[in-house]
């Protein structure tokens, strides 16, 4: 199962990457801490690591390391606005529960 972006999210990532002026794509990953077990990581990527899985979604290169991939398979990332706040949102089929804030989750 690939990791994907919605069209809106892809457009934003493209624009952020262009604005930054460098980078090969977007790295998605998992960090194992937070109030409910795991937390999402989203970083600009300057290089592709040896074991990375590489996905293409609406023209954006997504990089996921193998340890994270097992928790992220099938995840789709969207970009939304909530009031004045705006940012990226994950919908992850592996997620079985998340803390109230949604910043960390369990599988």
């Amino acid at each position: 199962m690939p990791v994907t972006l919605t069209e809106v999210a892809a457009e934003r990532v493209r624009s952020f990457l262009a604005n930054r002026g460098k980078g090969v794509g977007l790295r998605l990953g998992i960090k194992t801490h937070g109030c409910s077990g795991m937390a999402y990581v989203m970083e600009f990527a300057d290089e592709v690591d040896e074991y990375d899985s590489v996905f293409k979604s609406h023209g954006v290169t997504l990089l996921v390391d193998p340890k994270s991939l097992v928790y992220l398979e099938g995840t789709e990332m969207d970009f939304t606005k909530e009031g004045l706040n705006e940012g990226f949102k994950f919908s992850n089929p592996n997620e079985s529960g998340s803390c109230g804030c949604g910043e960390s989750f369990t599988v």
Binding site: K31, T80, G87, F88
Partner: protein, 623 residues
């Protein structure tokens, strides 16, 4: 579900530990808040999508405080309670009011306090409180937009703001519940927004920042050297802005429209509104249709140019003067940055470009460029960038000063001053015929030499013998971009010089610096007492030295044995009092001795006058 942002590689934060930061442009007429999200610096809008917050605060009797557009709308009807130019009052004392009060429509409260207060229906309000309300509104907007509490902010201030005005800005931020990472000069923020500090070349370059706002004009000449900005000169006109360009067009319209009837104030206001619209439209097209009442016409950039030539000339004159102050040739200016909505006018861009022989930078919205620069700086200071991209803008961690007679420290450069910096102060000799002076350089916040850290000591020799207080010794402290301190001492009449170089922060850890600052806070009261005591001890020494010198000179001649004994007793009492650790006792003993010696002083003066007159009469006879 929280919304996530993209981080720099390796800079992701743990959940609930986001390093949210913002940059705030606290302006005279409008304020803005900006932040960096997913690497992109943008200004933040309110619920209605408006970015600019008018810097206007209205106080009502029921305690309701309105900020921004709603307050601005009410300004005409409620002038006394609606405060619109608080920035002009920030950090000003009651004594400054005389020059400012004429420009401001407020009633000032009669107050004993040093800070002027404006009398409103909701009580007496200081400029700091007004500014705090504006900052609070922007804080709420930023936190709603970022989905969390702000860790810290960078607030911009005009380059010419003095220490009191900067401190007042910080006080306003504290009142608003904001942590200030740093105050940033507005022109520096504009230069940062354009990434001028990020260049590959390490060579220094000169940047001119041309800031034409609604009602004020500022020109700043900056020097960028390895990431550090230094303000070389500032200039401008606090009564020249975009509004003057509106008036120029309005006058033209009035001349075109039928002149047989006088215009009512309402018509004039309509003409002014139309003039403003025409001016703004001319930034996008060359010719604009003008409509006032039944009159219709058209106005072009070609017609606009000669109308405002004098206004533009005025700004360029200020530019020339600032360049001269900075001792910079205009061809040395590498980049010209445009700030302020009025710089959208093509006529301005063209003439400024011609003046500097260099097309100005205009890509970033000139209304937002200062806030964007502040946001970029705040993002770095919050720790969202890898260290390699850290800006080198830096400050002096602890005050630098000199040892004075009596073991007291005179601070020359205050803590938190941004480097590079150069400050000079003049000192004099303490004793008659003193021919050398030790310059002892110290670092720290305490009042006495023992409590501070000694950095270096050197001597200035060959001071010509003079009476105490006549020599003029200029001591210059200079800290360069790397924190390297150079101290130079020069006797002004002979030009004798001596100097030393030290690295002040060498060997001090952050914890040590923190302890030193904390100690100065904890011991503030004791330090004040020590200072008072030392000052009196020094004063006692000075008085004793003067008495001894006089006695040695003519004590035997002018005083009887009895009188000499009286003075000796007073002298002994003062010497004894010096051993006591009470400033008041020493002060009284000095007074007592001065009183005891009064007759002697009078007698010496008489004697001197007699001698002088005698000498003169002999000369006269000779002639």
């Amino acid at each position: 579900m929280a919304l996530l942002q993209i981080s720099e590689p390796g800079m992701s934060t743990a959940p609930h530990e986001h390093r949210l930061a913002a940059g705030i442009d606290l302006g005279t007429t409008n304020s803005l808040v900006a932040t960096v999200r997913s690497g992109d610096a943008t200004t933040l809008a309110d619920q209605k999508g408006v970015h600019l917050l008018p810097s206007v605060v209205r106080y009502q009797a029921d305690g309701v405080i309105t900020v921004g557009q709603a307050a601005k709308v009410a300004e005409i009807d409620d002038l006394q309670n609606t405060i619109g130019s608080a920035k002009r009052l920030l950090g000003r004392g009651v004594s400054d009011l005389k020059t400012l009060a004429g420009q401001l429509p407020y009633q000032f409260a009669d107050t004993e306090a040093a800070v002027p207060k404006i009398r409103t229906i909701a009580g007496d309000i200081s400029a700091i409180e007004v500014s705090a309300e504006i900052l609070k509104t922007l804080k709420i907007r930023a936190e709603a937009s970022l989905g969390g509490d702000l860790k810290g902010v960078v607030i911009t201030v005009p380059a010419y703001f003095d220490d009191a005005q900067r401190q007042a800005t910080k006080d306003a931020a504290r009142l608003a519940g904001l942590k200030v990472y740093r105050l940033l000069n507005e022109p520096t923020a504009a230069a940062v927004a354009y990434g001028l500090d990020q260049g590959e070349a390490l060579d220094e370059k000169i940047i001119a920042v041309y800031d034409l706002g609604g009602g004020t004009f500022d020109i700043s000449i900056l020097r960028l050297n390895r990431g550090v900005f230094e303000v070389l000169a500032t200039g401008g006109d606090s009564a020249l802005g975009g509004d003057d360009f509106d008036h120029a067009i309005a006058e033209w319209i009035v001349q075109q429209v039928d002149q047989s009837t006088a215009h009512t104030p309402k018509q004039l206001r309509e003409i002014l509104v139309e003039a403003r619209r025409v001016k703004e439209a001319l930034s996008h097209t060359d010719v604009v249709a003008v409509t006032v009442g039944h009159w219709q016409g058209s106005f072009s950039n070609e017609q606009f140019m000669p109308l405002v030539a004098n206004l533009v000339k005025k700004t360029l004159f200020a530019c020339r003067r600032a360049l001269r102050d900075a001792d910079i040739d205009k061809d040395e200016v590498a980049d010209v940055v445009m700030v302020g909505g009025s710089t959208r006018m093509p006529v301005i861009r063209e003439r400024v470009g011609d003046f500097f022989n260099n097309p100005p930078l205009v890509n970033i919205d000139p209304d937002k460029v200062v806030a964007i620069g502040a946001a970029l700086q705040a993002d770095v200071l919050a720790g969202n960038k890898p260290d390699t991209e850290m800006l080198l803008l830096d400050v002096i961690p602890l005050s630098l000063g000199l040892e004075m007679y009596g073991g007291l420290v005179e601070k020359i450069i205050a803590r938190n001053t941004t480097i590079p910096i150069s400050r000079a102060q003049e000192f004099t000799t303490f004793k008659d015929s003193q021919t050398a002076m030790t310059v002892h350089v110290l670092q720290g916040e305490r009042e006495t030499v023992e409590e501070n850290r000694s950095l270096a000591k050197f001597a200035l020799h060959d001071i010509p013998p003079m009476v105490a207080g006549a020599a003029r010794i200029k001591v210059t402290f200079q800290v360069d971009a790397d924190g390297l301190l150079n101290v130079m001492a020069e006797e002004k009449t002979t030009g004798v010089k001596s100097s030393i170089a030290v690295k002040p922060s060498y060997g001090l850890t952050d914890a040590e610096i923190e302890t030193m600052i904390k100690d100065s806070m904890l011991n503030a009261k004791a330090d004040r007492e020590t200072r008072k005591l030392r000052e009196q001890q020094v004063e006692a020494d000075r008085t004793l030295a003067a008495l001894d010198a006089a006695l040695a000179c003519d004590g035997e001649v002018l005083l009887s044995t009895e009188e000499q004994h009286t003075l000796q007793r007073a002298r002994d009492a003062l010497v004894a009092s010096k051993q006591l650790d009470t400033a008041e006792v020493i002060k009284t003993a000095i007074k007592t001795m001065e009183a005891a010696a009064e007759f002697y002083v009078a007698r010496r003066m008489d004697s001197n006058i007699r001698t002088a007159m005698a000498g003169q009469s002999i000369n006269k006879f000779k002639d």
